[in-house]
């Protein structure tokens, strides 16, 4: 056990936590049994306070592959394994994951707790689509194997359940066969938001993966201009694993580094110097461009930042996105990263995606941001949307009305009536 100061990827807030590092299942069960209020944590890639608590279990030493059927591609791993490390094992053997988030430095347990989505949600859905079963340690220390056929309610409530239903010990899921580690990509440059939406529809027909980088500083007729990045797994190229080479950001930068001017300049350069093109790139470049910069979050400085990610239903979705972009450019709160994706139909307890458009923006945590976000919340709510708990830092309790919250709480209370598993976020949102 160690007293440590922990924080999410957004750097602020921080909390002093009693961290229990467990090295095997027996130790995990023992720690859960003897603890009152505790939370299992992964690699701290969630942005806000969803992985923070006064008492935590560091799951990262529980990182073994428990079984791997190399014919069918069904694999079972302990939840502490990091996606990037798993890729190092499976890629050379001709496998990839069906759904990957924007960084490979997440734990498998984190993928489940957040029910992560990737650039292919419009075709495939969330990570849960590939999950066969979960081994969960309940509040009383017992291990249960849950699936569609066994404890189905717990199985569904745990995916996207932010670690609040029990500790995810192991995950059994399907891998995707690949012939090459490379992706055939196409970039489509769009001069405004309307063009983005139109081109996106076309790109989604032809490509498994699509994501759009939006210039969140462009105003007026140019508002919402951006670059659509689409891709399919290539059949050409070696099954080469990603490189471990990273550009370091070895210490916290001054908060002033990413300011209105530098962000505007970055957006301007990024838009101007990117052209429409076709290319053949490694999966690391396509899926994990920011992973190359080690600790890039430090560029925001000690003050920290938040990533605001919302989803709005398809019907009137374009209007909602336009309204929100207009407000952020008006308030001069543009971010250096604004990413647009489309989701297909999905509805599951606290799982984030719903059929519609999702936009994610980074905001430094200064006062302008703190007064802007509630205004954005209002628009999201007005259009029947919701916010991503994995990114959230300050949303109001009323935003939980966008989820099947009461139904989820019923299941959670069934398996953890005393609310042993809590987080700073769950306390803040009254979950």
């Amino acid at each position: 056990m160690q007293e440590k100061t922990i924080c999410g990827f957004g750097i602020a807030p921080t909390i002093k936590s009693e961290v229990h590092r467990v090295e095997d299942l027996a130790a995990l069960q023992h720690t859960v049994k003897k603890s009152e209020k505790i939370l299992a944590t992964g690699n701290f890639r969630s942005y806000g306070d969803s992985a923070l608590n006064e008492k935590t279990i560091d799951m990262r030493k529980l990182d073994h592959i428990l079984a791997f059927d190399k014919e069918s591609g069904i694999i079972k791993c302990e939840a502490g394994i990091i996606l990037g490390d798993l890729l190092e094992v499976i890629v050379p053997q001709g496998w990839f994951v069906h759904v990957t988030p924007g960084t490979k430095y997440v734990t498998l347990g984190g993928c489940i707790a957040s029910n992560v989505h990737g650039k292919n949600h419009h075709h495939y859905g969330s990570f849960s689509e590939s999950v066969i079963s979960l081994d969960i340690v309940l509040a009383d220390g017992d291990l249960v194997k849950v699936s569609e056929k066994n404890y189905r309610d717990l199985f569904e409530a745990t995916q996207g359940g932010m670690g609040l239903t029990g500790v995810i010990y192991a995950v059994e899921f399907k891998l995707k066969p690949i012939k090459s580690a490379f992706i055939d990509i196409e970039h489509v440059k769009c001069s405004n938001l309307d063009m983005v939406f139109d081109e996106l529809e076309k790109a989604e027909q032809a490509y498994d993966y699509t994501v759009t980088w939006i210039d969140s500083h462009a105003k007026g007729k140019k508002m919402g201009r951006g670059i659509i990045m689409a891709g399919n797994h290539s059949i050409k190229g070696e099954l080469k694993v990603h490189s471990k080479l990273k550009i370091p950001v070895p210490f916290m930068m001054p908060s002033i580094l990413l300011n209105k001017l530098t962000l505007k300049l970055f957006n301007l350069f990024y838009y101007t110097f990117n052209r429409s093109k076709h290319a053949h790139v490694h999966y690391d470049t396509f899926f994990y461009p920011l992973d190359m910069i080690d600790n890039w979050n430090r560029m925001y400085g000690k003050r920290g930042f938040t990533q605001y990610q919302f989803v709005v239903p398809l019907d009137k979705g374009r209007e909602a996105v336009r309204k929100i972009l207009k407000l952020t450019t008006k308030k001069k709160c543009g971010s250096f990263l604004a990413v647009l994706k489309t989701f297909k139909k999905e509805d599951n307890y606290l799982s984030f995606p719903m059929e519609g458009y999702t936009l994610a923006m980074d905001f430094p945590l200064h006062n302008r941001t703190k007064s802007l976000l509630p205004k954005l919340d209002k628009i999201v709510k007005e259009y029947g949307g919701r916010l991503y708990l994995t990114k959230d830092l300050m949303m109001g309790k009323e935003m939980m009305e966008g989820y099947m919250t009461k139904e989820w709480q019923r299941i959670r209370n069934k398996y953890d009536p005393k609310h042993k598993f809590v987080s700073q976020q769950s306390k803040r949102l009254g979950l």
Binding site: M1, E23, D24, L25, A26, H64, I65, L66, A67, F68, I75, E78, E88, V89, Q93
Partner: protein
């Protein structure tokens, strides 16, 4: 094929991981069947051919049975002994404790190396001792003695026809050092890489990390009147 005893320990697990990534065939030995099974499966998934054998470091007879079984599995390249036991600061030195410390850290090392010489007689024996074995100190009195004994044993063993590598870790970030608050705790994966490198180069003594070689040089040569007064 490499034999790794103490494969379920903090350092042992990482050595296994590293060799599995290299596709090395291994025989993994530990006393907890469930923990060993997890590591065997993980290594297989990573592409290595692996056997698991359960025995306790304190059970010298079982070790003989194990070695006799292992030699039938294939050609042995070498053996790495990672097992170890360090009592917690608040443990009372009973006769039982003494037995446990000596057997795990010293007797089992001697026994396994003897058996290795007798039945295999070729390749290398690498043993994780400790910087603690270089000089006696009041803290961890028994542990230091046992580890020191192992190092002296290895020195003699060197005269037989196998390569002998004495691995001396400083503080490594494992369960064994849980009670110790120190910024000098070295991560296990880096420790494993350093150990494997040292074994490959057939170094006589491997300090993990390297700077302990120079720290111990100073501490080893410190005059007694200063050493006796130091509360380390």
């Amino acid at each position: 094929m490499i034999i790794i005893v103490g494969a379920t320990s903090g350092i042992g697990k990482e050595i296994v991981r590293e060799y599995a990534a290299q596709g090395k065939d291994m025989v993994l030995c530990g006393r907890d069947k469930k923990k060993l099974q997890v590591i065997v499966e993980d290594s297989k998934a990573r592409g290595a051919k692996v056997h698991g054998i359960v025995f306790d470091a304190m059970d010298l007879a079982a070790q003989e049975e194990a070695i006799k079984h292992i030699i039938k599995l294939g050609k042995i390249e070498g053996m790495i002994l990672v097992q170890g036991y360090m009592p917690r600061a608040d443990t009372i030195d009973t006769a039982q404790e003494i037995r446990r410390i000596i057997d795990t850290n010293l007797s089992s090392v001697m026994n396994l190396c003897n058996l290795y010489l007798k039945h295999i007689g070729d390749g290398f024996a690498a043993v994780v001792t400790s910087i603690a074995g270089e000089r006696g100190k009041e803290r961890n009195l028994l542990y230091n003695a046992a580890k020191g004994g192992a190092s002296i044993y290895l020195e003699g063993l060197r005269q037989k026809d196998i390569d002998v590598i004495d691995i001396r870790p400083g503080w490594i970030d494992t369960k064994m050092t849980e009670g110790i608050e120190s910024k000098l705790k070295y991560p296990t994966d880096k420790a494993a890489k350093a150990i494997i490198k040292g074994i490959k180069k057939r170094k006589r003594v491997v300090y993990v990390p390297w700077y302990w070689r120079y720290i111990m040089l100073v501490l080893r040569n410190m005059p007694n009147f200063i050493w006796d007064k130091l509360k380390l």
